[in-house]
Amino acid sequence: AQSVSQHNHHVILSEAASLELGCNYSYGGTVNLFWYVQYPGQHLQLLLKYFSGDPLVKGIKGFEAEFIKSKFSFNLRKPSVQWSDTAEYFCAVISYSGGGADGLTFGKGTHLIIQP
């Protein structure tokens, strides 16, 4: 079974600091990778996704992530965070079995707090 590891459970940063959240997955076959965000009191929203092609993907709100196949990693980055980025961030992977895509496997999440 595949698994997803997020390195940091809680991260506290000041506004304008740079952000990098680590994500590693275990599956060796074809995968698609996602980062979802859950703002306080809101439902899960897609930040960005990787399916194929350029391993550096850009998402909403200035976020980007880099897929490094050799390291089984898909780290999330943002050069300058804002107070409004305070949220829970989830890395997820979807694998493909013979019948099609399976459900998403999520990491445990990283709780990001941005201090003004």
């Binding site: 399976d102 459900g103 998403l104 999520f106 990491g107």
Partner: protein
């Protein structure tokens, strides 16, 4: 257009009772997923429907959990004889079911078993 909707938003039930949770996917989305979000376990995949095909039940935690999808649209997740460990937020997501497989999530149903 409307997003994924779920009802009820909150449900409090007594241990041993049955509950039904409803999900209405985005119109035209053929794939529907149920997940559970709890403090101890994080986000767990429960079950997946693709069109009218038999669902993938591999993630259901016990035989007390079942789900159905009528007419390829609305889905109901049923938990029989609820236990306290069933307390969680139950999330539904839908996707077009094509190669993108991007899933759109609903607001969830918060289930509390007392």
């Amino acid at each position: 257009g409307a997003g994924v909707s779920q009802s009820p938003s909150n449900k409090v039930t007594e241990k041993g009772k049955d509950v039904e949770l409803r999900c209405d996917p985005i119109s035209g989305h053929t794939a529907l997923y149920w997940y559970r979000q709890s403090l101890g376990q994080g986000l767990e995949f429960l079950i997946y429907f693709q069109g009218n095909s038999a669902p993938d039940k591999s993630g259901l935690p016990s035989d007390r959990f079942s789900a159905e999808r009528t007419g390829g649209s609305v889905s109901t997740l049923t938990i029989q004889r609820t236990q306290q460990e069933d307390s969680a937020v139950y999330l539904c997501a839908s996707s077009t079911g094509t190669t993108s497989y991007e899933q759109y999530f609903g607001p969830g149903t918060r289930l509390t078993v007392t």
